[in-house]
Structures are given as C-alpha cells and as structure tokens.
C-alpha cells in the first residue's frame, strides 16, 4: 500500500455550522485507488466531512470551513479554485438516489453535455461505457429513453453512479449510497465499489459496519466531530487502539 500516491489529504480541518463546532481539527490522508470508509454514530460529522471534499457545504448558510484539503497536492479551498471544475474531478453519490427527471440516457450524458460535448456518437459511447462501469447496462440498454424515475431504487442509485462516472472524476464520494436500498441492491453496489477502486479513489460514508468491513481498505472512525482513529480496516475491526472505537464497533453504543 505504501507505494501508492496520496490522493486526498485533509489538514487541520475545522468546520462550523454557525456556532456549532462540527469538525474538530481533522487530519487524514487517503491513498489513490483505495476505498476509505467513514464510520461513526449519527451526528458525528462524517457526512459533513465527506461533503468538505467537493465543497458541497459551501451553499449552507452559516457554514464555515478552516484548514486545507489537498487534492493531488493542491488546496481545493484556495481562492482561485473554481468549485464547478473541482466537482468534475470529485464526483458524488448521495444517500437517496437522485436521478434527474429525464431519460436514463439524458441522466448519464448530463455532465458531458454541460461541459459542451455535443457529438452524438461520442455521447452515446460515453453513456454506454459509464453504464457498463455501473453494472447497469444490461438492465437498461433497451430502454435508454425511458424515464429514470421509472427505475427501481437500486437501479436509480447505479444510474447516479454511472452519471457521476461519465465525466471521469478521479475521486468518488459516496454518502451512505446503499442505506435506502434492499439487500440485493446493496450487494450489487458493494460489488461495484470493489471494481471501481481499480480506477477511482473512493470515500464512502456508511452506517453499516459490516459494509465498511466488506468494501473498504482503510476505515476512519468519527466521534463528536473528531477523527478518533484511521487505520487499515482490518486493524480497526480486530485491534482498535482507541477505547471509543472498540465500543462502537462492538455495538456498545451508536
């Protein structure tokens, strides 16, 4: 693992919702082409922290961030960074599937179209590739013009993953991507994460510790806005250093 490059790094991140100190001095580094899971009880700040990496908190009234996030060594909170350009490199999949009320095809090519791509053949090719990557192609290839809202929840979520992948980000943030899905759909998403990490750096927030154990290489445990412990997933689950981590993963609270 040590031969891999550092893809994402947080340095002294503090974040506030108004007066509420939501994230307290967080330092963490994530290597490229790995899966990092953020776990912790509700309200511990793990989702807030995830959204720091593509600046999704910027529009929240009263939200303030201090510190640096380095993506490939460059601070994404620097003054000259264009947020929309950043988000093309750092894709996001949300807790609840949120396809646009458009056709399946239009959903997948959305990101390319807003970047100005208009070549039909190129768009179709990119759509097929993204849908393959999201393991959805075989289910939808004959219905690309059907409304995305007609798909099942699990299919919608994979469509959202395809939509994110279509613009070739290098990082994929996933905010509890399977929490609204049934076990079979969840298994499909997890399998997908395994395949995707060959190309992408993935950060996943999850409430489900088994899921963290199954999909991630490293796991970070958050508690009350602090990063308590970040280590290889196996270590976190078998030999945690901190008492709070141990209590949480053994189900003593949370």
């Amino acid at each position: 693992m040590s031969k891999k490059q550092i893809k994402l790094e947080a340095r002294d991140i503090n974040a506030y919702y108004g007066d509420f100190h939501a994230l307290k001095g967080i330092n963490v580094a994530m290597e490229e082409k790995t899966v990092t899971a953020f776990i912790g009880p509700s309200g511990c700040g793990k989702s807030t922290f995830l959204r720091i990496f593509n600046r999704m908190n910027d529009y929240i009234d009263g939200f303030k961030t201090e510190g640096e996030i380095l993506l490939d060594g460059e601070n994404i909170y620097a003054k000259n960074v264009l947020v929309d350009e950043l988000r093309k490199r750092v894709g996001m999949v949300f807790q609840k599937p949120n396809p646009f009320p458009k056709s399946i095809y239009e959903n997948v090519v959305y990101g390319l179209k807003i970047q100005g791509m208009s070549n039909k053949a190129a768009l179709a090719e990119a759509a097929e590739k993204a849908l393959h990557q999201a393991a959805l192609w075989n289910e939808v290839k004959d219905n690309l013009n059907k409304s995305a809202l007609a798909l099942s929840g699990g299919q919608q979520q994979r469509l959202c993953i395809a939509r994110a992948l279509a613009i070739s980000p290098s990082v994929l943030l996933m905010d509890e991507p399977a929490s609204a899905l049934d076990p079979i759909s969840t298994a499909k998403i997890e399998e997908l994460i395994h395949q995707l990490k060959e190309q992408y750096t993935i950060v996943i927030v999850t409430h489900n510790m088994q899921q963290a154990g199954r999909v991630s290489d490293t796991t970070a445990f958050f508690y009350m806005g602090e990063l308590v412990e970040h280590a290889k997933t196996k270590t976190i689950f078998t030999n945690p250093k901190d008492k709070r981590t141990e209590d949480y993963i053994t189900g003593r609270f949370g």
Partner: protein, 291 residues
C-alpha cells in the same frame, strides 16, 4: 354539543353550496342572455365575422375583432411578464441570499395589489406618452402600452407561482446538479426549471387567463374601437371593454344590442374556463412524482 356541531356542519355545507349555485347561476345568465341573441344572429356569422358594429346603424356581429384585441393585449402582456417573471423566480431561487429573497417577494406582491384602474391611468398617461417618444405614429389609445402595463401587472403571478414551483423541486436534485459540476446557471436552466416545468406552465396559463379577463386597464388605455388587426399601435377593443361599454351605455335592456354582451361574455367565459381547465389538467398529468 351535538346540535351545535350540526349547525356548523350545515353552515359549511351552505357556504360550499352557495358558491356552486352562484357559478351555475352565472352560466345560466350567460346562456339565457345569449340564446335569444343566437336566434337572431347565426353562430357562424358570430364566430367568423370580421366586423363588430352592433351599436351602429349598419349592424355587424362578428366577434373576431374583439377576440383579436383581447389576444393582442394578452400576447403583449405575456411577452413582457414571462421572461421577467421567470428571471425573477430563478434569481430568487438560485442566487438571492435568503434575506434579500424575503424582502423582494413581498415587494413584488405589492404589484398585484395595485388597483387595475391605477395601472390603466399609468398606461394612458405615462407609458403611452413615453412610447410616443420612440414611435411617433403610436395612437393615444393602443394595445401596446396597455399590454406592456398589463404584463407588469401579472409579473408577480408568474414570478410567485414559478418560484413556488421551483422551490418545490427536491433539494436532492439541486445537489445532484451541483455535484456534477454544474454552475448555478446550468443548475437553474438544465435541472430546476425543467423539473418545475409543469408548475411554470400552469403559472403562465393562469396569467393568460387573468390577462384575458382584465377589463379596467384595457378599457382605459387600449381604446374602444373594435378592429380586426394585430397592429399594436392603433386603438382596439377587447371583449371585456366592449361589455363595459355596453353595460354603462344607454343601450335599451332587452334589445339585440344589449344581448351582444351576453354572447361576448359567453366567449370570454369559454376562454377562461378552458384555460383554467387546461392548467388543472397539466398540473395533474405532468407533475413529476418524487417520493
């Protein structure tokens, strides 16, 4: 206890029933007034004739000049109100800080509370002279300034209802758009507006319906000369203005001239009724279902 509840229930029932009865009554009045009219004048002549001169010696009963006048002022009004109203709705939703939004919205809605007679005088005494500075052959009464001012008047209808429609789009869609690297403008036009399109269309239809039925403004500023034209620079007459003209004039009750207003009123009613039903249908059919 039981009795008082029964009385309250009865009163509520009565209130609802009266409303329905009044509506039926209006339709009945319109029909009973127009039936004798259509016994004298053929419906074909009425809906295809291009001369409307019931008050002259040589009487012609073609409604098209009034329909054209109504269409013209309405079209100008929508041409003004739709782009402005929609821009305001998008600005309030995507760009305006919360505090500014909470100031602008009520101020805009004040526009809707100004009496239409005031708008009429504004069009006649301010807008028309102003426009005559650019368009020398603009008549003192004309469809252009009446339409423009009517457009200003219905901006709040479109901006407010469209803003509600855009606000009702789930936040998750906005996040999805931002998450894909959309700018605010792209988020607004590629995601939010399409997702809110049924609500926006409904707001426009209701605004059209309002413009078609608007009376005082056009009676003051657009003139009283039924003319089968789409030229906005000359005096015209709308359906509503004609009804006012006859109602307030010295046309003897029960005469054929008098009955024309029932026929004209029926046409107006059919238009607004159809528009309102269309908006209801669109709302029902195209509203996106989000869980």
């Amino acid at each position: 206890m039981k009795l008082s509840e029964k009385i309250i229930e009865g009163l509520l029932w009565l209130a609802a029933t009266i409303t329905i009865l009044v509506t039926i009554g209006i339709i009945w009045v319109l029909l009973s007034g127009s039936i004798p009219f259509f016994q004298k004048v053929s419906i074909i002549e009425f809906i295809t004739g291009t001369e409307w001169t019931p008050l002259f010696a040589k009487k012609e009963f073609g409604i098209l000049p009034l329909v054209a006048g109504t269409f013209l002022t309405t079209a100008i009004a929508i041409a003004v109100a739709l782009p402005l109203g929609l821009t305001i709705a998008i600005y309030l939703n995507e760009y305006a800080p919360a505090r500014l939004k909470s100031t602008i919205k009520p101020v805009l809605e004040v526009l809707a509370t100004i009496p239409t007679v005031v708008y009429g005088f504004f069009a006649l005494t301010v807008v028309t002279p102003f426009l005559q500075g650019f368009i020398p052959n603009l008549a003192g009464f004309n469809a252009l300034s009446a339409g423009i001012v009517m457009g200003i008047m219905i901006i709040p209808m479109i901006s407010s209802l469209s803003e509600d429609a855009i606000s009702a789009v789930p936040k998750s869609l906005r996040e999805a758009a931002y998450g894909m690297g959309s700018t605010r403008l792209q988020t607004a036009f590629k995601v939010m507006v399409p997702a809110a399109s049924s609500g926006i269309i409904v707001s426009v239809i209701l605004a059209i319906s309002r413009a078609v039925g608007e009376t005082m403004l056009v009676a003051i500023a657009a003139g009283q000369q039924p003319r089968f034209t789409l030229n906005p620079l000359v005096p015209i007459e709308t359906i509503t203005t004609y009804i006012v003209q006859v109602s307030l004039g010295d046309v003897p009750h029960g005469s054929l001239e008098y009955r024309t207003i029932f026929a004209a009123g029926l046409v107006l009613f059919v238009f607004t009724f159809a528009l309102n039903n269309l908006s209801f249908w669109i709302k029902k059919k195209y509203q996106e279902k989000y869980d």
